[in-house]
Amino acid sequence: MKLAAILIDTARELLYRRTLLVYFGIVTLTLLIFAVALQTDVAGGAIASLRIFGVQGRSAPGGMSFGGGEGGGAGLSAEAFVRGMQLAVAFVLYPLGILLSVLATASLVPRMLEKGVIDLLLSKPVSRPALFLSRYLGGLLVATVNLVYLVGGLGLILGLKTGIWNGGFLASGLLMALYFACLLGFSVLVGVLSRSTTVSIMVVGVIYFVSLFVRLPHQNADWPLLITSPAWRLGTQALIEALYHGLPQSYDFGQMAARLILRQGGVAWGTAFNSALSGAGALALATFLFARRDF
């Protein structure tokens, strides 16, 4: 019950600051647009025609066709159309969701550590690790609920209107929640170290860009040859690999989410596990530092 109190309070605090409410509003607007703009005619258990944003789809031998000729043979199948729609929404709203979640949750730890706040919390019969982890989970919960609302809502609307249910879309949303959990681990670590919301946001931004940057040299086997000094080459290579494996692998998460939506592959478990491990490591270190610190 004590931990639930912290979770609920954290969620309240995040909603009070409205950053994530803005995201919730954007998602709701998106869902409403799809609910209103997507029209289907079902006949005999199959979609006879489908209209979205004024584009008419017709029944064709291979499924629903869009934009093709009268015969419909060269058109896009309804399944591909739905996945394409989901990918387009994910392309815009996943990064926005992650960005707003990072902005909203960056202050969770610095605010908790303010004088007069932390004294009170630590005087209550709750262990320090439980207090800290509940705060983390509260932030993660709100961000996850927003992502699930997006994928669940859009998946449901498209499923009900087209009869095409894409479990990969839901999985991609959960994958993004995992990615955010990793970033949040680093955010709370910086929060404990710096007690600053601004620094937390900046460092998470740096982590994001560094993780994108190091992927290229990680994938390209020839780049170390550009460095002539063997010592420098080895050192730089080690640094690149350490950063690639020690930080959440942002680009790979995006790729995995797209593949899941398009049903072109599953989760790269190695990548997901590696990123989860780095986030968990940051969270564990943050919890350890919080538990040992004088306030």
Binding site: M1, R12, G116, L120, S123, K124
Partner: protein, 292 residues
């Protein structure tokens, strides 16, 4: 510190009062030494469940109302409904915050925050109540309310640990006090003992001779008298001579010599009172003048 009663911790800024409280609650950790609170190590969850704490400059989540703040901290203390709701309602009433229960705390005045803080500290009906400057920024009426609330708690058997700069408040409330200076305990005892009369007297007399001051001073060098008359005369003002309060810093022998000198001048003595020191005087002497 024994159970029951009110214990006051005094000391100048930087003496270590708040640090001591933080050590007791495991908000900070000792670099050396050992502490026990309610028979357990600081930070022990079972011990914390029996403690109420009001820190200095306490702050509450600004998105909560006063009532939500109490529910939140009651939940953190492990209280369940319906007991939690009963206590929250009773405390809001007790600290006269019922009318502001639905107001967000960022709209509260300093006095309201202190009253809410007191309610928060009492929400788990603690055995030990630790208060750091509870009357800080509170007006005299509010101070009196807080004092009454603490006296109620004392009656209930709660042990109260009070950390305050307001020595008059401490003197009124506390049974025992300790004085910290530069992190060290320099004086501890009952308030009665620390302010016990000794070496200081007040003598009320009538019909002193205006020109008899020198003789009185010769008899009792520690004599403090009212302001003299016209400069250079060394005499008492006529009004003062007719009804005078003399203060003597000296032992019983000096007091008797003064009485003899007064009687020799034909003065009438109304009263001789042993003078009790205020806690403030004790504090200033110990901290300011370095008295051991």
């Amino acid at each position: 510190m024994a159970g029951g009663g009110v214990f006051g911790l005094l000391g100048p800024n930087g003496a270590g009062k708040t640090t001591l409280v933080k050590l007791a609650l495991a908000i900070a950790f000792p670099t050396s030494g050992r502490a026990r609170v309610l028979g357990r190590a600081p930070g022990d969850i079972a011990a914390k469940a029996r403690i109420g704490y009001l820190p200095e400059n306490h702050r509450y989540p600004s998105h909560l109302t006063g009532e939500q703040v109490l529910h939140y901290f009651a939940r953190l203390s492990g209280l369940r409904d319906p007991e939690r709701s009963r206590r929250v309602a009773a405390l809001l009433k007790r600290v006269r915050m019922e009318g502001a229960r639905d107001v967000k705390v960022h709209r509260y005045s300093k006095g309201m925050m202190q009253r809410l803080g007191m309610a928060q500290a009492l929400v788990n009906e603690p055995d030990l109540l630790i208060l750091d400057e509870p009357t800080d920024g509170v007006d005299p009426v509010g101070r009196r309310e807080i004092r009454d609330l603490l006296l109620e708690q004392k009656e209930r058997g709660t042990t109260i640990f009070l950390n305050s700069h307001l020595l008059s408040e401490v003197e009124r409330l506390c049974d025992r006090v300790a004085i910290l200076k530069e992190g060290r305990l320099v004086r501890e005892g009952n308030v009665e003992d620390l302010t016990r009369p000794g070496g200081s007297y007040e003598v009320r007399a009538h019909h002193l001779r205006p020109d008899g001051l020198a003789a009185l001073r010769a008899a009792a060098p520690g004599l403090v008298v009212p302001p003299p008359g016209p400069a250079g005369t060394g005499a008492l003002r006529p009004a003062a001579a007719s009804d005078t309060v003399l203060q003597l810093a000296g032992d019983r022998a000096a007091l008797n010599r003064l009485i003899d000198a007064l009687r020799a001048q034909g003065a009438e003595i109304d009263a001789v009172l042993p003078r009790r020191q205020s806690l403030e005087e004790v504090f200033v002497r110990v901290v300011g003048e370095g008295e051991p």
